[in-house]
Amino acid sequence: MRRLLTTLALGGLLLAGCGGNTATAPSPTATAKPATTDSPDAVMSRLYEAAKSEGKVAIYSSMNTDDAKKVFPVFEAKFPGVKVEHTRASGEVLTTRVVTEKKAGQDLFDVVESNLFEVGYIIDQGYTQKYIVASAGDYPAEVKGADGAFIAARLNNDIPGINTQKLPAGITIKTWKDLCNPALSGKIAVEQGDVVVYSALRKILGDTEAQNVLRCIAANKPSLRSGHTDMANLLAAGEFAVTLSSNGHRLAQLKNEENKPIDWGRTDPIITDVQGMALANKPPHANAGKLLMEWLTSPDGQKAIQSTGRVPANPKVPPKYPDLNNFAKIFYVSLALRADFDKDQAFWNSTLGVK
């Protein structure tokens, strides 16, 4: 397994290009060019004609169903006759599903879309193919793979969540170290699978400081949760005062749409988990799959994602809640971070008591 992961990590390093860097203003890049010079609309028009006979597109995505309901119907309205079959599951479960299906020679999905670590693993197995969308040039290098291995349509900001009514008086959360305050003992929650946050902190703070931070957070006896949205909702309900990392868009939804006493820590940089999207190596509905990828990365698709409160990956389409990612530099999670995943996971598990 260790050898497998090492191989994966090396593959990831090759794929990642310049991931794991911070950038003050993500700039579009032209490293990955589409195979055609046609405009996105022209490409979609051509693909739509071919996709009509396929009738549907099967996407395996971690986007929750509430948000999916705001996105995929827009696609279906724009492209009548092409129905989106959305199989929703967490990144781990999607990985399990894809790997098992593919090992058995089943080709059931057209597009997979989830956390970059999971999608990177699926890419490494050879279960996807390269496809460069027509809008690829609008996207920064940090959110797309080399030569079209993947591209992100949305980003997740991993930022500390705060229940302003439960936060003990006099405490502010601006850095991860602020979560070490003994006054937060028993009042903090951690998503148990968030190893990626620790991997990012190692790059941001350095190994020793990141280890110290995690150790002192562990000393505050955090509640281990499963699922970021679940954790954010419990934070809003008052079950805990702070979280190590919550999805920014959910915190913003709770604060702005549900009027909950929610805020978030303005960390510098902002850890941003890229949600990789890739085309299956043998998609049963190849044209519809490409069409969906084209549309999700097009201005219309990005606006649909924007409407959910999530952060669109195209920097030309600002998030619905700008204060989610305008207060500091962005640290993009990259496949390169997987290089020490075994070690990071072991430290994470032993420190937090994940067994």
């Binding site: 169903t65 098992t100 058995a104």
Partner: protein, 572 residues
């Protein structure tokens, strides 16, 4: 030879084609298909370096890790205490309620019967979430006033908390099975003891308890293994509290990056081993089952104990149980179903009541599909399980078929395979053999039937051992062959148990999560998976609305089934 001898001794005519051997052989083949193949995949997965049977490379590293892990003793201890505690609590609650309802003159018996069944209908994940909101340290309905008034709170994130939630949820299973046992008991034996001036305790110890022993052993075993293999409570309550049991380890193994199927399978094998020990103990406890045969050719009507003024104490105890197991969780769900994002009840939250959660579940196409699929699967799985296990029980109890012990074992073994591991195994099975049913309702049906065979086999076997052979012998003496005897003598006598099994399998099918979560597609989504998906999205208030809706619909449905069952029992 042996089968022929026994059948002749039983007076049954043996046709040239040996009906018993044909039936037993067909049962053996079916069970092998349903259980041996997935188990083989589980075993292969535990020793496969690639974590797949399709790309097999032998390794012992997963088993080594499972057996030599420093935390393995803690894991074993936690698992045994949790499962044992939950089984004991469920058994105590369920048996006390069953005794009160079946054997005393307590008023409104059918009401208590109905109320006791409600927790059984509620999916485990919903029940767990309801109690999470009742006992959460900060936002729990029970803890909030406790903290305000007395300065302390009860921690749901503890072993007692886990035992309480699981025990309360599975108590109705004990209630159903022990009710059947109480109904089937011939009270003349107790009356004879009383006539011999034996006191109540002595009568209970020397007569009642031995008569109930096969049922007690079966029920305790089922409750124990049910708790051992369930993963909702360990995942939602245990993990945040850092109390890990085997199933949460399996769950976490599958959430590793990349997921470790091999580790999950190895933990599954340990669960299997523990359950096999349970099966051996069960067989020892029931090996002299014939001594406890209480259904004979004689007619009888169970006597009900006159409680006198203690009737009201019993009513109070049952009302308290119903309040804790039914009313309180329902109320918290009802409240949650009318708010957009969960919060502690307050004037502010009450001002913002909304029907949006109900609109969501009624308009949601996936939820509608899930309800429809679950109903189809429930009916199909319950019917197949009843049919198959009635025949298997007959083979194991009534024949000397050489492999009958193996049949019983095979029909029981799936209870030890965590649903999620069975799901992975079945994916491998149906991707390996050229039957393309992955992603359809068929693979879910196979999974459900496999998973619920143990409940069917325990229910029907326990009932069958209490039916004396003399009735079949009489039929045989009158010239009846195997099928007419089975159909006209055994099936009517077994009908109460079969109806109980059908209703139970139907209900648990509606809430099955573990086996379905890796087998479904968007076209074959089922109710529990839909709820899991909503929970994964933190959408508790929609879950609450769906749960309230389901509880109301299912209580009505079960009431109808119960009436049919009651009539069936009376006819039988």
């Amino acid at each position: 030879m042996a089968a022929t001898t026994v059948a002749r001794r039983a007076g049954m005519r043996i046709p040239a084609w040996r009906a018993d051997i044909v039936v037993a052989g067909a049962a053996a083949l079916l069970l092998a298909y349903l259980t041996v193949v997935p188990l083989a995949m589980l075993l292969l997965g535990a020793v496969s370096a690639s974590g797949s049977a399709l790309d097999f490379q032998f390794t012992t590293r997963y088993l080594e890790r499972v057996l030599t892990d420093q935390a393995s003793i803690e894991l074993l201890a936690n698992s045994l205490v949790y499962a044992g505690g939950a089984a004991a609590l469920a058994f105590a609650l369920g048996t006390a309620a069953a005794w009160a309802v079946e054997r005393t003159n307590i008023p409104a018996r059918s009401l208590w019967y109905g109320l006791a069944l409600v927790p059984l209908i509620v999916p485990g994940i919903v029940h767990t979430i309801a109690w999470l909101f009742l006992l959460s340290p900060e936002i729990g309905w029970i803890n909030a006033p406790l903290k305000t008034l007395f300065g302390f709170s009860l921690s749901v994130y503890s072993l007692p908390g886990m035992i309480w939630i699981e025990g309360l949820h599975t108590a109705p299973l004990a209630f159903i099975l022990m009710s059947a046992a109480f109904r089937a008991m011939d009270p003349s034996l107790e009356e004879a003891a009383a006539a011999s001036r034996a006191d109540a305790w002595k009568t209970f110890r020397r007569v009642t308890l031995p008569l109930l022993l096969p049922s007690v052993a079966s029920v305790l075993l089922i409750l124990f293994v049910r708790a051992l293999e369930g993963f909702e409570v360990p995942a939602i309550i245990g993990v945040p509290g850092r109390i890990f049991v085997y199933t949460s380890r399996i769950y976490l193994s599958l959430k590793l990056y990349p997921p470790s199927f091999g580790l999950a399978a190895a933990y599954g094998l340990v669960l299997l081993a523990i359950s096999v020990v349970g099966l051996v103990l069960h067989r020892r406890a029931t090996r002299h089952a014939e001594r406890y045969a209480t259904v004979t050719g004689k007619g009888y009507r169970p006597r009900r104990l006159e409680l006198g003024r203690f009737r009201y104490v019993a009513v109070g105890a049952l009302a308290l149980y119903a309040f804790l197991a039914v009313a309180l969780p329902f109320l918290v769900l009802l409240y949650a179903s009318f708010i957009r994002v969960y919060s502690v009840p307050s004037l502010e939250s009450l001002r913002e009541l909304t029907l949006s959660n109900y609109s969501f579940i009624l308009e949601d196409e996936l939820t509608r599909t899930a309800v429809f699929n679950s109903l189809i699967l429930g009916v199909a799985a319950a019917t197949i399980v009843v049919a198959v296990t009635a025949v298997i029980a007959w083979v194991t109890v009534r024949t000397r078929f050489p492999g009958r012990g193996v049949l019983d074992f095979l029909a029981f073994v799936p209870i030890t395979i965590p649903g999620i591991v069975l799901g992975i195994s079945l994916i491998w099975v149906y991707f390996t053999i050229p039957i393309r049913i992955y992603g359809t309702l068929w693979i879910l049906l196979v999974a459900y039937v496999t998973r619920y065979l143990p409940y069917g086999i325990r229910g029907t076997t326990s009932a069958l051992v209490q039916i004396h052979r003399e009735l079949e012998e009489a039929a045989g003496a009158a010239g009846a062959r195997w099928w007419p005897t089975f159909r006209h003598i055994l099936l009517p006598l077994l009908r109460p148990a079969l109806v109980g099994v059908w209703i139970y399998v139907f209900i648990i099918s509606l809430r099955e999560l573990g086996a379905g979560v890796l087998l479904y597609s968007s076209q074959s989504v089922v109710l529990a998976v839909r709820i899991f998906d909503l929970r994964d999205s933190g959408n508790y208030t929609s879950i609450a609305a769906l749960s309230v809706f389901l509880i109301i619909v299912l209580v009505a449905l079960v009431t109808v089934l119960q009436r049919i069952g009651g009539r069936t029992i009376r006819e039988a």
